[in-house]
């Protein structure tokens, strides 16, 4: 069910931050992908996005990511090109079908897993959109860290 040892690792990733109404999710996806293609990139995939807030009034703060084949691309100011993008130490779970209800359940399972295992959440929730014509699925991933009794923090 829950994979306790997951990560996100891609090379040549384009990203952009968005703020939008949750219902607009699919349109924002499409705009993002179209814009990246328009820059002359070839999509390698998969598309993934972070949920950076607890959605209030259904407004989502999010960052969208897409790996491409090119290792060099000039992007507009509101986009970023990362030669390598990775998030380590993640727990994850698959969802397929009935995404909306399943996603809520998946969140709950992941958050319960975190508290049951004395972990703490250290990243936003990431959704990785995968699958093909035979089946669409998504992986929901959260970066975690063992709760430690740490010495006083050395501030950055």
């Amino acid at each position: 069910m829950i994979n306790p040892n997951d990560s996100i690792r891609y090379t040549n990733v384009i990203s952009r931050k968005y703020e939008f109404q949750y219902q607009e999710l699919e349109n924002v996806f499409n705009d993002f992908v179209q814009e990246v293609i328009h820059l002359g990139a070839t999509i390698k995939g998969p598309l993934f996005y972070s949920v950076n807030n607890v959605p209030m009034d259904e407004v989502l703060l999010s960052e969208f990511f897409i790996p491409i084949h090119e290792d060099d691309l000039v992007v507009p100011e509101d986009m970023r090109f990362h030669s390598y993008f990775s998030v380590e130490n993640m727990i994850s779970i698959y969802v397929h079908n009935h995404f909306e209800t399943k996603t809520e359940v998946a969140y709950r399972l992941l958050l319960d897993y975190i508290s049951d295992n004395e972990l703490e959440q250290v990243t936003p929730i990431f959704h990785v959109i995968s699958g093909d014509h035979s089946m669409q699925y998504a992986m929901i991933k959260i970066g975690v860290q063992k709760v430690l009794n740490m010495e006083p923090a050395s501030n950055i």
Partner: protein, 149 residues
Amino acid sequence: MKIKRCPLTFHNVISATSTCKPSEWHHSAQDLRNAIIRNELYGTGPTIYQVSTNLGSQESAEYTFHVPVNEPVKIDLNETYRFTKELTFEDGLVIRHADLDEDMEESYQILRLCAEEYGLELEEPFYNIYLDVYGGGIIDIYAPIVKEG
């Protein structure tokens, strides 16, 4: 052995430099990782490190670590950590060092020979980009090109 020529870009990079014995460098890397977590940030890219050995000492070397994080940070006057909004090189050579049991110096030498062949001047120390693979690791060695011809 495949050598690629491409730019390299990381965002919001925190760096730390320390002088230590080769057997102790992982402590410095751990310190940096822990400091990132304690400050409620998270890494968004691999750990990148550079080694300078010409300190006139066989025993220790200067290690510089770089880790991209999720957002920009303000760093007060602080001797330990530095912040770079964008760590980017317009041009460079990259080679994948896949077997960590083999001497890195051999891969460095291949890059130097390649640069010589094409009349390029490289900037050292090179950037070692550590990539986790199935619990082990491989290293992409990136050598910035500072001059051509």
